[in-house]
Symmetry: C2
């Protein structure tokens, strides 16, 4: 199944285009124009006329160009007719936003649609979906208005999502947090293109380094496990499974009309093929960011560097609780560091640079850990509330991170001053967390993906 056109179409028809800004047929058109989509857009509506200085075609058949992708913004009852028109116009890829199919018990309507799609060899994203977004081609087929829902920057995390609302709030959060995206896909009822098809597509996508999925049910378990197993050898797949309890499962049935399955069976199978399980959205992106940004670790021995004793202790607790090891630097490194540091600094693990730590002392401690053979991963805690720590530490860390010798993870917690400096670090490609436990749990996923 070739799904390239959903992300890389040149000529896009929007069927059911509307001048009413509250209609999907308006926002879909508007979003593509506003983002500066490079291809051609052909609005279609039987009433004709103009929209934003563009001629509206009265039917698909009137368009003189070959259409690569049709975005279908009509109510459920009109979908079959439009799909038939698409088939006649040899359009092979469509997005259908409309709800009102099997998720509300309209099984027959969805089956009829399925048959029609098969007849005309059409791939359908949806029905009952939000659309998709490619940050590289700028093909944005999402119907939510841009002021209500941000689109994240370019990045190498891709996100597949059954639920439109989960997808929308996640994109919005990614944009606000500055997490980059490659492709976003909301697939809704998966009438004839399902999560596995999109997963397979992302497996081959050069812009995608990490795949995140929110799934309630899986259409074809065997196919999913076979494909996911192959893809996860090439890139990490992080999964949130909705409907893991009996009550949650019941709620899933009336949502996208899919069977949520038995959680234990899912998780057992996921583990065998090296999928990474996340319990919530925050965890999913905590895991995705470390897998996206850092280099492969050589082992699980973590060196902690801190300017706050309490945070050093919490980090140590978190590292041990997550089944990682505290690194033990060589005698030579320790002796050298003790020579260079004053007596109030504890040289060990954690290295506690204490409350009047300077950026230069951080540099010294990090360089030592970077070259010490007993250290695999560095966890550096930066508390910017202390008086002597200058923002120069951001440059020092970014430069060491650019060497890409060992995973270098930052923990920094505070207010606005902290957030500004953390943003600088993240923009420079350094992974930052708010608290030691988020960091340690994420390091565990990194280690498990590459080494276990």
């Amino acid at each position: 199944m070739n799904l390239d056109k959903f992300f890389n179409a040149k000529n896009i028809a929007i069927v059911g285009v509307s001048r009413n800004p509250n209609k999907i047929g308006h926002t879909v058109f508007r979003n593509l124009v506003d983002i500066g989509f490079k291809g051609n857009i052909f609005p279609v509506n039987p009433y004709g006329g103009e929209i934003l200085n563009k001629r509206i075609y009265t039917s698909l058949s009137k368009i003189e160009h070959k259409i690569d992708l049709a975005l279908i913004a009509v109510p459920a009852k009109f979908v079959l007719g439009v799909v038939r028109d698409c088939g006649k116009s040899k359009i092979r890829d469509i997005v259908v936003y409309a709800a009102g199919f099997k998720e509300i018990g309209e099984e027959k309507l969805e089956k009829d649609l399925y048959k029609l799609l098969k007849k005309y060899k059409i791939n359908c994203m949806g029905v009952n979906c939000l659309g998709s977004y490619d940050s590289y081609t700028k093909l944005d087929s999402i119907f939510n208005p841009r002021h209500k829902m941000g689109r994240p920057e370019q990045g190498s995390i891709s996100f597949i999502c059954q639920s439109g609302a989960v997808g929308a709030s996640t994109l919005d959060m990614m944009k606000a947090k500055g997490y980059g995206i490659a492709k976003f896909i909301s697939y809704g009822n998966a009438t004839n293109v399902d999560e596995t098809d999109f997963l397979e597509h992302l497996g081959k996508d050069d812009n995608t380094k990490v795949i995140c999925m929110y799934i309630e049910g899986i259409k074809n378990g065997k196919k999913f496990l076979r494909v996911a197993k192959e893809v996860s050898k090439k890139k990490p797949i992080i999964v949130i499974k909705g409907g893991v309890t009996e009550a949650g499962h019941k709620a899933a049935l009336s949502h996208t009309g899919s069977l949520a399955g038995v959680a234990e069976i899912y998780f057992g199978a996921f583990k065998q093929i090296n999928l990474i399980k996340a319990d919530n959205m925050e965890e999913m992106f905590d895991f995705a960011r470390i897998l996206e940004k850092t280099v492969e670790p050589k082992g699980d021995r973590v060196q902690v560097i801190t300017n706050g004793g309490g945070y050093g202790i919490m980090a140590t607790d978190s590292i041990i609780k997550n089944g990682l090891q505290m690194a033990d630097m060589s005698k030579e490194t320790k002796t050298e560091l003790r020579k260079r540091f004053s007596d109030i600094i504890t040289v060990g693990n954690p290295i506690d640079l204490v409350g009047n730590a300077t950026a230069e002392e951080y540099g010294t401690a990090m360089e030592a850990s970077l070259s010490d053979g007993n250290v695999d991963i560095m966890l550096v805690i930066l508390l910017f509330q202390t008086p002597m720590l200058s923002p120069n530490v951001v440059d020092i860390i970014s430069e060491l991170n650019d060497l890409r010798k060992k995973p270098l993870i930052i923990v920094s917690s505070g207010g606005e001053f902290t957030e500004v400096l953390k943003k600088d670090l993240e923009d420079a490609g350094v992974v930052c967390y708010n608290f030691p436990n988020n960091a340690a749990k994420s390091i565990k996923q990194l280690v498990d993906y590459y080494l276990n």
Copy 2:
């Protein structure tokens, strides 16, 4: 032990005041002036002169007023001399910031100080501490400059903290997130006033509704358990214990020189006296906010209302996983709601108002749950990315919350638009979380504190 003067002194001496803005003796003075402290400040330094238009006294004995509290900003080696002067001037409460005592092996110096404090009947906050902050009296004895570390708004959460760095980053975070504080206390080495003394004080403090503690070790276990048991009957106490693993414990020894104890013993004892255990700072404030803001629940049956099916499923999973119950509204309520809502809305638990939910539909669903006898707690998911949901929903929720009939918890996840509306809700006293699992885990603490 009367600790009132640390938070409510009229006449404060600052010993070791300095014109150098990089010195603690400067920032402590400056902070009190800048916050508009209502009492009198008496700067002391043997060199005399002036600072910010105020006369500097050359010694404590030269001050003509009775001093309630001395903030001692001199290095460790000068502390004993200053304490002796305080004793002679009948000063009974002091804050000592200096590090360089038992935490770096200077056991004798700390013992000598202890004896001197006993001789003169002086209560000492510290040594090796950050100071304290009372948002009501504006007595701010913290040495961190205000631009590097914010001070939170008035509120009813108080926070006791051994580690200065943990305290500083936490205050900074609280300020940025808009979480209110009553009193903040950093007690460092606890030379002669320890965590239990401060806990007892907060137990009697009318401004404090919830007590949060970060502790590495406890000075006197028996005393702590006795006091904590009494206090926790009146108000919830949430504890993070640093040094729970063997390695973390080892790190704690070189931090505040306290024995971290065996984690299992701690947690067993904590549970018996109804202390609430948090694993990290985020969790601590998730728990504190629900206990601060909501009314006492009558039971553990939670009704979920959502405009995103996926979030409804995740909420259901989280409620069940946390050992709470999904509410089952009465037949009458369900029939009534089915009459009022269109067919695409699922009336059950969750109530799924689907993607084009309006503020009015939220109002209808919330009012029904509020008056239904089978519902104890309401968990309302608001996804603002959807097209039809107007910001009016903020007023509707605030008004229902003001009735204070049942705990009403909001989950809302997204970007800037969402954050603005969430801030409005929080300002109106409504507790908000980013994800269903944070909310469910917090509801569990609320239920356990009041009902178990």
